[in-house]
Symmetry: C2
Subunit: 301 residues, 2 copies
């Protein structure tokens, strides 16, 4: 049995795991990431955590998921808000220098998408576009089991696709940017505008709509259309076999997903209406997907 | 020297050529395609044209470019307006059965893009998005020298990306579809609305703008923004190394391209502003690209 080490470095926690080639997590460890203590400290922590895994020395390679765009060639984080002080650091190289094992790094959305594409809902499909709709909206493109991160690691930055230029610009994105109109955060914001502070998250809006509230239904319908436009643009660019859906927002099936899906089918060509949609299946796409990075890269080299 | 046979089957003419691995056209033949005479007649014509090429029997393989989406697995044209009666016909298979050479088919935009990606402006780049802006707007994605045609052959059908939903729906596309707002046809239509029938094509609008006509300048600016939004959406989905630009509309450099490019840079993330733009370089991307199909597929198998 071949094994791989996955590292999931977030702003709050860092997790490492030993994962087999089928995506089973054999063992994992977690600690606070303490990114404020700087790059050398965090790298030493990751090394120590990996060395605490049984049989880590037999793993084929190491994969790391980190927030923000990654220069996958140099193994650096290019830009990141969640890991201050880490931009431009060759994290993967540092880990590789220590363990003498092939080490790869990519952003956390790409890594989760890779996990879903190779072992989860997209398994066996050629072109998989993973899109997560939660606090924000991000995507990842996998073709034949390999992440296509783009020239700058920005492939899948769907958050800034403009779905209606006549909206207000927010959060440094373009006016009418997808993320500001159709993310969980956006639904909450729009819900608060209509119903006040009784709305704490997107689920509250969906519940009102499910209860038959007309205003809530209109809001859900409008957001479904905005989201469908973003997905349709993506489909027209790449025509994937399947969209794998991450994030909690998409799971409100009857109220939201069906409207979204119908609008999507209106906005693409008739021949594309059978593009599949599936919910993400992995319990831990971040750590499993990270562990799949060396498999994806070694296989494709 | 390895050689390949390219076939460019259009609604008006069919061309065949013997092309070497560097994209040099060694010999070519052209006839009226006479598609109204049906599939068997046209296939026989193509066979006869190929057999009239010197040393055709030494070619490594055959590639065909046809209008409209193509099912690249089965080698069929899926939908086509320009070749009535040809939808669903396994044209590539028919040619392959005769010559016993590997034969591949793709749509004409993908084929032109492949030519540009492998031998023209995109040579040596990993992710190339070819976009042609002329009568219509279409694109083609090449990754590492292979066409990514999508599940249904619809990757690159950028014509229906919505750039402003508050416009009038036309030509069976969504309201505000890119092709209806920023193609050569669209510029001509909008020019006629402003200036009457003195406008015969997009170049007349560009000329008026270059002469300082304020209305024409506003129109050029507005179209440049619409087009930039379509390109920005594409960039956010795939983050290419380079956009290769086909079609006459993009060549009006000072008046149109600079505005377009500035808006594009506004609409993507700062890290993506250096995505390259280059004009298509091949004199005959259709026939050369078709001849490169077997090279792309054989190499990648």
């Amino acid at each position: 049995m071949k094994t791989y080490i996955g590292v999931d470095l977030g702003g709050t926690n860092v997790r490492v795991a030993l994962v087999d080639e089928h995506g089973t997590v054999l063992q994992d460890k977690k600690e606070a990431s303490e990114v404020d203590k700087g790059v050398p400290y965090v790298i030493q922590k990751i090394i120590r955590l990996i060395e605490s895994l049984d049989n880590y020395e037999n793993a084929e390679g190491i994969g790391m998921g980190v927030p923000g765009p990654v220069d996958t060639v140099a193994g650096k984080i290019v830009v990141t808000n969640n890991l201050p002080g880490f931009a431009g650091e060759p994290l993967a190289q540092m880990i590789q220098d220590h363990f003498k094992k092939p080490t790869f790094m990519d952003n956390d959305v790409n890594v989760a998408g890779l996990g879903e594409a190779t072992l989860g809902a997209g398994k066996g499909k050629s072109i998989v576009y993973y899109i997560t709709v939660s606090t924000g909206i991000g995507g990842a493109l996998m073709i034949d089991g390999k992440v296509i991160a783009g020239k700058h690691g920005h492939a899948g930055e769907l958050c800034n696709i403009v779905v209606d230029r006549n909206r207000e610009a927010r959060n440094g994105l373009a006016a009418g940017a997808l993320e500001n109109e159709a993310s969980g955060t956006a639904i909450t914001r729009k819900g608060k505008e209509l119903f006040g502070d009784s709305i704490e998250h997107a689920g509250d809006v969906f519940q009102l709509a499910a209860d038959g509230n007309e205003q809530a239904l209109e809001l859900v319908d409008s957001v479904a259309y905005d989201l469908a436009q973003g997905f349709a643009a993506t489909a027209l660019v790449i025509d994937p076999d399947i969209f794998v859906l991450g994030g909690g927002v998409m799971k409100s099936k009857e109220i939201f997903f069906n409207r979204f899906h119908n609008y999507f089918k209106e906005l693409v060509f008739p021949g594309m209406r059978d593009i599949e949609f599936a919910y993400a299946q992995l319990d831990e796409p971040g750590i499993v997907g990270a562990a799949m990075l060396p498999l994806a890269y070694i296989k494709n080299k």
